[in-house]
């Protein structure tokens, strides 16, 4: 492939959206209110939309005649490059909103930078995505506040979720070889520069939400290298079920 780095770069962004959308998709009809079910499917839908744009573009760059579905459904687990954060389970609604918020803040900072990418397709995806992601962040941030500053029970549950998920935040800022090459080309976003903003914004909201900002110095990483948590295999066995069971068909 000529543009191996660009392909890898896009895939890892796309995988984040795909896997998070998949996690949200599990919840549909099982949430605490009708309104959160609607919002959850809506966010999932936005993320799938982004995912499709990314994979279509990646497939074009790859130039092997593959489709968005080949990329979404027919890779091996080690070839998915999403961060560990997005694959964490829906243990309870605090985890769902915590995971979403910790990702959304990053996602919006990321998309805002990607607006300036020299790559026109990526800049265009960002332009469309920023509106969506701003809404996601408002929604998840509001819920983190509600749960953090709600009842004693909800505060404890939200804190538990933030504490557990915190170890996965640092990986968002890891730079792979593909990332570095794309930054050098003016195409990729230098996420290392977003780190401070990220933690500052999140810390502020957590404090407002009556939550303690975790102080952990140890972070867990691996997803960007394709070394996932043990949850990932089960996510993929559902995600890929149809394409693996009925290969080479149209749906």
């Amino acid at each position: 492939m000529k543009n191996n780095n660009l392909y890898n770069y896009i895939i890892s962004i796309a995988d984040n959206s795909l896997i998070l959308a998949q996690r949200l998709g599990e919840l549909c009809g099982h949430g605490p209110t009708l309104e959160t079910d609607i919002a959850g499917t809506n966010i999932s839908l936005d993320l799938i939309g982004q995912t499709r744009n990314y994979y279509q573009y990646a497939a074009k760059i790859q130039g092997e005649g593959k489709t968005e579905d080949d990329l979404a459904f027919l890779r091996l687990e080690r070839e998915y490059k999403n961060v560990l954060l997005v694959e964490q389970p829906n243990d309870h609604f605090g985890f769902v909103m915590g995971r979403q918020y910790l990702f959304d803040v990053f996602h919006l900072l990321f998309m805002t930078e990607m607006l300036n990418s020299k790559d026109e397709t990526l800049a265009a995806i960002a332009k469309k995505g920023i509106k969506e992601v701003s809404y996601h962040k408002r929604f998840s941030g509001d819920w983190v506040k509600r749960l953090g500053d709600g009842t004693e029970e909800s505060n404890a549950k939200m804190q538990e979720a933030i504490d557990d998920l915190w170890v996965y935040t640092d990986e968002l800022f890891d730079l792979t070889e593909a990332d570095k090459a794309m930054i050098a080309d003016g195409i990729g976003v230098d996420t290392s520069k977003l780190k401070e903003l990220y933690y500052a914004e999140i810390s502020e909201l957590l404090k407002e939400a009556n939550l303690t900002v975790p102080e952990g110095k140890y972070f867990t990483r691996g997803g960007k290298k394709g070394i996932h948590s043990e949850h990932m295999g089960y996510i993929l066995s559902d995600l890929q079920y149809m394409q693996r069971t009925y290969p080479n068909m149209e749906w």
């Binding site: 599990e26 009809g29 099982h30 499917t41 749960l147 709600g150 909800s154 394409q243």
Partner: protein, 318 residues
């Protein structure tokens, strides 16, 4: 109010309906009208909400990104329909929590069709094509029903449902133009969903209660059997287009009447499912009740937060 006065109001009320005027929530209405509407609209709302489950079952396993997106959008629409319809009920003075309580306790019903399992991807096609198809036939006349909020909700619902139905048909079409395995999957789904879809149009006229009064209030404009005939006459040619066989050996065109004759419906099965003994009744209720109970702390938190926020605002204002 004296009986005389009430009778007077009732006459005015019935006359308004006869003139095709819309009844609005603040208008006077007979208690029975109110109750009947709450019952029917909430049953409809519950059907939307419970109906999210069999389709939600395939979101994580949809075979392509395009289908996954469409399915998410569809289930989201259903949640939206539930929302309008609960709101319409609320205009009649019953809260959403009360309605949920009726659903969870088994007091309120929902459409029995959702007590069948979705066992293959083709069921996403069959539900769109047949179940939404039958729903539309039930619902289109309701766009002109007498109660304003219900009529307006139905206009929006029907528009979206008819989009869903086309989408479902398109899923079937793709399968029927696909591999042998896909064709088999489509035929199998039709075999399983056909009869329950016919039952969706309600018991035969002979056994149907509420009909006469509902006709007067435009909650019903055709009898169940007429609606069923309409559904069959509309669907058989679509099945032919797909190259699928309707699983009814007695089905045949009646040249004289200009409609399809069809076989005996298994009403025992219908009543069994209605009474709670279908393949998934327990699972559907378990899922809904679990969602509700597991979500209690979340709703409590939202309430507590809103109260605190309000209190803070007040404090600042002083």
């Amino acid at each position: 109010m004296s009986n005389e006065q009430i009778k007077n109001l009732e006459e005015i009320f019935e006359a308004r309906i006869a003139r095709d005027e819309k009844i609005e929530p603040k208008d006077w209405m007979p208690e029975k009208y109110r109750k009947t509407h709450i019952r029917q609209m909430s049953q409809h709302a519950h059907s939307e909400i419970v109906g999210m489950l069999p389709e939600g079952n395939w979101i994580t396993r949809a075979p392509s990104l395009r289908r996954k997106a469409a399915l998410l959008a569809k289930v989201q629409d259903e949640a939206g329909h539930g929302l309008y319809l609960y709101s319409a009920c609320e205009t009649l003075g019953v809260s959403r929590d009360e309605l949920y309580e009726q659903l969870h306790s088994g007091k309120a019903k929902y459409s029995s069709i959702f007590n069948y399992p979705t066992v293959t991807w083709a069921d996403m096609g069959a539900i769109g094509w047949l179940v939404d198809g039958a729903a539309i036939i039930n619902q289109v006349p309701l766009c002109n029903t007498s109660f304003g909020p219900y009529a307006r909700a139905m206009v929006r619902v029907c528009k979206e449902e008819s989009f869903h139905q086309r989408q479902g048909f398109e899923i079937m079409l793709k399968l029927c133009n696909g591999s042998q395995e896909q064709k088999d999957m489509a035929q199998d789904a039709l075999n399983r969903w056909w009869w329950p879809s016919l039952m969706m149009l309600g018991p035969t006229d002979a056994e149907s209660i509420h009909t006469e009064q509902s006709m007067k209030w435009k909650l019903k404009r055709k009898s169940n059997d007429d609606l069923r005939q309409q559904f069959i006459d509309q669907t058989v040619p679509q099945a032919e287009l797909l190259g699928l066989t309707i699983p009814d050996p007695d089905l045949k065109w009646n040249e004289e009447k200009g409609v399809y004759d069809f076989g005996e419906i298994n009403w025992d099965e219908f009543w069994q499912v209605v009474k709670g003994h279908g393949p998934c009744n327990k699972k559907r209720m378990k899922d809904r009740v679990n969602a509700w109970e597991n979500g209690e702390w979340v709703r409590d938190a939202a309430m507590a937060y809103a109260d605190k926020k309000e209190a803070r605002k007040l404090k600042e204002a002083i």
